[in-house]
Amino acid sequence: MFARLLYESFRRQKRRKLLAGVAITLGVAVATAMIAVATDIGDKINRELRSYGANLLVTPQEDTLDVEIGGVNLKPPSDGNFLSEADLPKIKGTFWRNNILGFSPMLPVNVSVDGSGHAQDATLLGTYFARKLTFGKDQFTTGVHSTNPWWRVEGSWPADDSEDVLVGEHLARKLAQHPGDAIDIAGQSHRVAGILSTGGAEDDQVVAPLQVAQQILGKPGAVRRVYVSALTKPEDALARRDPKTMSGALWDRWYCSPYVQSIAYQLQEAIPHSHAEQIRQVAQNEGTVLSRIQGLMLLVTLAALFASALAVSAAMATAIFERRREVGLMKALGAGNLAVAALFFAESTLLALLGGVAGFFAGSLLAHRIGRSIFNSQITIQPVLFPVILAIAVIVTFAGSAAAIRRAVHFDPVFALRGDA
């Protein structure tokens, strides 16, 4: 009998049920999309923050003091120690290798540049542009293209195995250089592949593939420093502690967290005779910006949950309120309060489950669209979200209908049937 009542209620009141179901579906869809976006936004913004450039710097351990003003190196170029280029792929062998988005080795050399008859001393910076490297079975591409996204080239990027160079825009103006011109660097002619604009010291420099700089310096395989761009976790109390004072379990936790400090430590382990340090300007600010944006999205998600809960309960209340006459009839035929309430609750649960499932998929689609259009990447939806969303849908629908059901149950059947309620 109960099952038949339930079935008939859905069969006969299709329009009304559809309306309530649509309200639940929409509410759940909005909630799902917002929760999915809010849980994933940390990772997405973290990646966007990487457009600020590298947050770690690896230098030789026993290095001499840098003597550098405004990007111009005043130290004899062969002075001091170097890292070995052959060790660099090992960066991709560290514990947090998947968090390391890219690295760029740098080797500055002082050279004399001669283009169109103007001779001048300048710094030549050897680096990777988009170099293909392998570590074990992994193949990856790294270089300034990914670590320094604000670098802009008019013309084309040189290939990493070519002799072509980029000329900084200020230097190019002084030397009257254009893409495709030939330029004399340290007595050798190179093709200018493009004009580089960075808004930094590189605007007055020549940027060349790493092996060109090594050749000029006469030190094959030498690298002065390596900039590493890594996804990190915002610093907390544990991150700031000195790892040397930690106990075993704590140290493991520190080592296995992607703090900028522990990634620096692992880089030092991977590259022999190196010293890795966070670039505080980038690394320290990431945490604050990230936590602000995450906090904002969390609060906005709360508002979204609240609004959708309200929409669902409003729809349910209206749907039940319209069925007083039915309640009157049921009670006149001898149904108890419990039986009436049970019927309504069963109906709401069914609606909530149906709406919840539909809403979850609609919301996943919505989150997917948001991810695509804003971040150009997938927003991952944790499977654990599904039961959570379903539970929330049922609870909210229950809570929304409770007051209306209570009122419906307490109608006097006589009034309800006469239509005076």
Binding site: V72, L296, L299, A314
Partner: protein, 384 residues
Amino acid sequence: MSSAPQTPQSVAERRSGSTHRSMFLRMLVRAAVLRRGRAASALLAMVVAAAVATAMMNLYVDVQAKLRKEFRSYGANIVVVGKDGASLPPDALAKTESVLGGRGIAVPFAYVVARTSAGQSVVVAGTDYDRVQRLNHWWSVSAWPSGLQEALVGMRALPAVSPDGKPFDLSFQGHTIHLTAAGTLQTGAAEDSRVYLPMTEFFVWSGVPPSTIEVAATGSSADINAIVGRLSEVLPTVDVRPVRQIVEGEARVLGKTRATLYAAAILIILTAALCVLATLTGWVFDRRRDFAIMKALGASEGLVSGFFAAEAAILGVVGALLGFIVGIGIAAWIGRVNFNAPVVPRFSVFPVVLVGSIAVALLSAIVPMSLLRRVQPAIILKGE
């Protein structure tokens, strides 16, 4: 008192007019009072929707300014440097500050390469400690020097200039200065290899004026470009460059955040409108007996429609007013919790919320009304 003769006709006209109006008002008021439960729930839905909409719009407008402030902790976004490494004109800092007009900080830097007593080259920089502290929050400094002959020494420079922690000498073009390392500086970048001195002391010793001014200007990228343009105008002999690394990174992150917030705001406002629609539709539909009685008593279609529309509009206005106040409160709370600064109320949002609320309320009244209009009053009164 007016002395105009009062004809019975004019009295009747006036009376009928006033009765008409007062009856209309009374019906509106009684409808709200008698069915306060339903009216209150409809109003509540309206208030919540208006509040959520207000809060989201306020946040959307204000969050950019709030986040920009956070982004300024990344430091300078404009650098002013002498052309080809030349020094800046002596009035460069004053001119820069006048262009900024308080909307940012300008910090001068001067650099020389000095020699330690062991013959090692080291870069010595002169700057303004107070300003640099406000510009570069990420500088990790053990102690800021306060007295004369005290220097701030970079972590990597420390072993070179003062390996045993004793006072040290630095010489530049025959002038020697005697210093103690009052504090150490760590940044992970070029600053670690330098020794920092207060600007006046640096100038007395080396005679070299500032060659760089780092500027952290607040505002949108258009504001920054305008500042760069005006700086190049007042300082024609120097190079003014935006720091692209900082400016572009900020624009990118900010753009994505705003887009996400925009999507969220639209979703939330739509949901809230839906909630109002559901509640109000039910409310109007519930009152089909009032509707039938009015029609049975001879009210015209227009009057009845006008009555329900007026009711919905009043609900919209009251809901928008209350919701606006609540929404500003919510936005301020979010600002305080998340940014440690309240979100400034934007009253420009109010007309939008008001019009939106009335529109949604009217829409929710029109749908059930058009359904009811097709039904004979007798059928409704019979209760079918």
